[in-house]
Amino acid sequence: MKIICLFLFSLLICPGCGDDEPAIKVDLKIKEQVIRPHEPDVITYAYLPQYSHTVSYTRHHLLVSYLRKKTGLNIKQIFPDTFDHHMCMVGENKIDISFSNPFVYVKMARKYGAKAFARSIEASGRENFRGQIICRKDNVAIKNLSHCVQKRWIAVDSTSAAGFLYPLGFFLDHGIEKSDFKEIAFAPGPGGKQEKVILAVYAGKYDIGTIREGALDVVVGKIDLQQIRILAMTAPYPGWVYAARKDLDTSVVEKIQQAFKALDMKNATHERILKAAHFAAVISSTDSNFDSVRELVTKTDINLTQ
């Protein structure tokens, strides 16, 4: 009887007496200094940060890998925080290959001597792209473009093409001056500017917003797109452009250009790369392809050197 009692008592007690989990002995006294190694012969590739870095990485890291493999160059994608930062880095030779909107490009060409060598064909198959003017669906004060007068306007960036320049030209064409708006604001902070514009309008902080065509797809699942109404679409302008910084070795540009031209939707691997980048193809381009944009800049009295 006593043995049975002791056994039962042990059964009750023992589960509470389990040993601690094993620990690995480690000595933290030996230390080293962290120094970033410098990588030589790196060709830097940057995507104008109209979206977050994550979106930029997701869209372009396959393309960068492809270019690295195809050209044999040590191409690396870097992520500038703002449009101005992007342009400055091109001017400071920190970005060798820039993928930007036509407005930024004409600025960089004018200011830093960047030279266009290729441009993307939109996933829809169009060579050009448009800007969109959006508002909340339930905003009864805005039923057409004329209702935008004395309203608060948020644009992507002062250097954004479809997010500011194209809509501004569109407003001027419809007789609405910059001074007619109650307020013109730009998306704050680094990266993700297209999303910020959409979210600002969705939140009701601004009455209207201007974004590039296709930007709404980026926020699918994040907000209820049924609450967003596209008020108007601008005229189409040339799409995004690949430009090489000034003085970049032409052979490098040539190799990259050839690699772009080799991308074919019919190739399954290329198709995956192109779809990730939201491209249908990448074609060769020259600086003259963007003269229409320069005309629009002139019309809006924007100083390309600022």
């Binding site: 008592f9 009750l12 007690i13 589960p15 509470g16 007496c17 389990g18 989990e21 094993p22 620990a23 690995i24 002995k25 480690v26 000595d27 933290l28 006294k29 030996i30 230390k31 080293e32 200094q33 962290v34 970033r36 190694p37 977050s52 870095h53 994550t54 930029s56 990485y57 997701t58 890291h61 870097i78 992520f79 500038p80 925080d81 680094p190 990266g191």
Partner: protein
């Protein structure tokens, strides 16, 4: 000395609490510790996951400032976050929160593959234990680097220590409180049990006047406002009314506890006065001892009666001359009477509890055991006669053995009774002999009847022949001898016929003295020739009697002849008659001065053909005939040798006296 009830209860109580406390202590502390550690682990994973997600953008931008800010913010978030750092795809440290350099050993201690959410390892620096988390920094499946986070276990250990201290304090406090509560609850119980124990000891010692139940504030007479002094419950402070029979309360049901308790439970007295189980136990114990006392008194009375009856029965059994014994189903003697003891010449104590083997010789034991087995098997009674031969001579026992059946018709024992029938046996032998003699008598009578006629012819012709022959001569003498012997034969035949024939009595009333004189007139002359005198001493008045005069005269002739034959020569025959005071009986006494009758022969003298006379003098039928005639007249005959007068006076003499007593037959 073994511990008492109170100590046992306390020991059990505290042991249980201690065991429960220990179990709770170990279980709860273990569960809490595990839960806390799991919570810390989960928290580490959670912090790491959030940080790794926030680290994507700065990493892409290679914004070391933002990365550092994020890491510092995280470390400052919680005191137990030991460190954080970020490794690039190649596993090189990008940024960290350590002072004065990055600990090289940490670099490869923990890693996480692309297809895992994270990895956790417990590391020990000797003075610190911490969990190291490795979480991937990735966009979709594209790995950018690894975030590492160190979380100290100190907080968890402190929390566990607090819990354990709280548990110990709680257990001690609980045991203390339980002890106080237990003492309060146990005290009345243990007191009551102790009192019960003392009362039971008193009861065991024979004192049944115990008072175990507590006194009540209000009793039945208070509640019912009763003043019936005759009621047994009135002013009885220690016994509850529902335990008592014969209470006088109008709501009470008559009878004992079993009959009235159902009714009493409905009574307000019961509802107000009945207590808990312990009180009920004490009250029922008191009631039980009271009832026991009454029952014991009755039992003692019954025992006295039983003992008296037992003694009576034993006296009766011992007084019975028959021996009686009782055996149980094993054959063991369980009861015997005095006669049985006397038979075996043993004391009762030496017999009871013994078997046949212990009491009888081997031969008898085998016989008795066999008989007992037959009785146990068949259940049929056994009746037998045992012939016992010992130094005292031969004796006979009539034995009856009967099986005693129990309730289920099985033999539970044997009752044996036996009687000494030696005397009866002797009488039986005499009867058998008498019957034999009667048969012989009848045969002799038949023969006598058959030969009476030829004997008469022989006598007739012999007398004729005697007349015809000359008186002097041998022939005459021979014929005279024939006549003489034939006459003797005729007399024998006549006696036989008289003995055997049952002649019709001729009853008449006559004077017995006269009848005797008639007989004496015939014989007096003959007796005188032999100098035998006759003394007559008659009842002075007439001695009237109803009977067969001739047969009674025959009685007198036979008795006088016997007296004459006993005297032979020179003697006296005394005849005395008398009437009994109530005049219902007469007595005739005939005594002689002869040679008397020996003690051995005196019992045989009335048997037919028994005679001590010579061959020519007696037939042995006279006294038998006399005896038969007296019996026919409902009388009796006694014989004394020497006569009664010598016996009463104590003087020496010889002779024989016959005393015949006859009822007069007169109203």
């Amino acid at each position: 000395m073994k511990p008492g009830f109170r100590k046992k209860i306390y020991a059990g109580f505290f042991s249980l609490l201690l065991i429960q406390g220990l179990v709770l202590f170990f279980w709860v502390s273990h569960v809490m510790k595990s839960s806390l550690l799991q919570e810390i682990k989960n928290r580490g994973i959670s912090i790491g996951t959030i940080l790794s997600a926030r680290m994507v953008e700065p990493m892409l931008a290679m914004d070391f400032l933002r990365m550092r800010v994020l890491l510092d913010e995280t470390v400052q978030l919680e005191q137990d976050i030991f460190y954080t750092f970020v490794l690039d795809k190649e596993g090189r440290p990008l940024i960290h929160t350590f002072d004065r350099g990055f600990p090289t050993a940490l670099k490869h201690l923990n890693s996480v593959s692309d297809d895992h959410n994270g990895s956790m390892k417990l590391l020990d620096t000797g003075d610190k234990l911490f969990y190291d988390y490795a979480l991937p920094v990735a966009i979709d499946t594209h790995r950018l680097g690894t975030l590492r986070l160190g979380l100290l276990r100190t907080r968890a250990e402190k929390a566990v220590a607090k819990i354990m201290v709280s548990a110990v304090v709680s257990i001690v406090f609980t045991i203390f409180i339980a002890g106080i509560v237990g003492t309060i609850l146990l005290n009345p119980i243990t007191k009551s049990i102790k009192k019960l124990h003392e009362s039971s000891e008193q009861a065991l010692r024979g004192n049944l006047d115990v008072k175990t139940a507590p006194m009540l504030g209000k009793n039945c007479w208070d509640i019912m406002n009763c003043h019936k002094n005759q009621c047994p419950a009135y002013k009885n402070y220690h016994h509850r009314c529902w335990y008592m029979a014969g209470t006088l309360c109008p709501t009470c049901v008559e009878g004992e506890y079993a009959k009235k308790i159902d009714s009493c439970r409905q009574c307000q007295v019961y509802r107000k006065c009945s207590g808990d189980e312990i009180q009920s136990l004490a009250e029922s114990f008191d009631a039980m001892t009271l009832s026991l006392k009454g029952n014991l008194s009755s039992l003692k009375d019954a025992e006295a009666v039983l003992n008296e009856q037992k003694a009576r029965l034993q006296t009766i059994l011992d007084a019975i001359p028959d021996f009686i014994s009782l055996q149980d189903d094993k054959g063991r003697y369980i009861s015997v009477n005095k006669a049985f003891c006397d038979m075996l010449n043993k004391e009762k104590e030496d017999i009871v509890g013994k078997f046949n083997d212990d009491l009888f010789p081997p031969g008898l034991t085998r016989q008795y055991n066999k008989e007992d087995r037959q009785l146990f098997t068949s259940g049929l009674p056994l009746i037998k006669e045992n012939k016992i031969m010992d130094e005292k001579g031969i004796s006979w026992l009539h034995v009856v053995k009967i099986a005693v059946m129990d309730g289920s018709d099985k033999v539970a024992g044997l009752v044996c009774s036996g009687r000494d029938i030696t005397q009866l046996k002797a009488v039986q032998e005499q009867l058998t002999h008498a019957q034999k003699m009667e048969s012989v008598g009848r045969l002799a009578a038949g023969v006598a009847h058959e030969i009476n006629t030829p004997l008469g012819i022989i006598l007739g012709y012999a007398q004729i022949l005697l007349e015809d022959v000359e008186q002097e001569g041998q022939i005459h003498d021979d014929v005279a001898t024939i006549v003489k012997q034939t006459r003797i034969c005729s007399r024998i035949v006549a006696d036989l016929l008289s003995f055997s024939r049952s002649r019709e009595n001729i009853i008449s009333e006559f004077d017995m003295n006269g009848a005797i004189d008639e007989v004496l007139d015939v014989v007096v002359h003959t007796f005188g020739l032999h100098h035998v005198d006759i003394h007559r001493s008659y009842y002075p008045g007439p001695l009237k009697i109803r009977g067969d005069k001739e047969k009674l005269k025959q009685v007198c002739i036979n008795l006088l002849n016997n007296a004459f034959d006993a005297i032979e020569q020179d003697g006296v025959i005394s005849i005395h008659t008398d009437l009994e005071a109530t005049a219902r009986e007469i007595t005739i006494s005939i005594s002689d001065t002869g040679h008397g009758i020996s003690r051995e022969n005196i019992v045989k003298i009335f048997e037919p053909f028994y005679t001590t006379k010579g061959p020519d003098k007696g037939t042995g039928l006279g006294l038998s005939v006399t005896f038969g005639i007296i019996k026919e007249h409902n009388g009796s005959i006694d014989v004394f040798s020497p006569p009664l007068s010598f016996l009463e006076t104590g003087t020496h003499g010889q002779g024989t006296q016959f005393v015949v007593t006859l009822p007069t037959g007169l109203d």
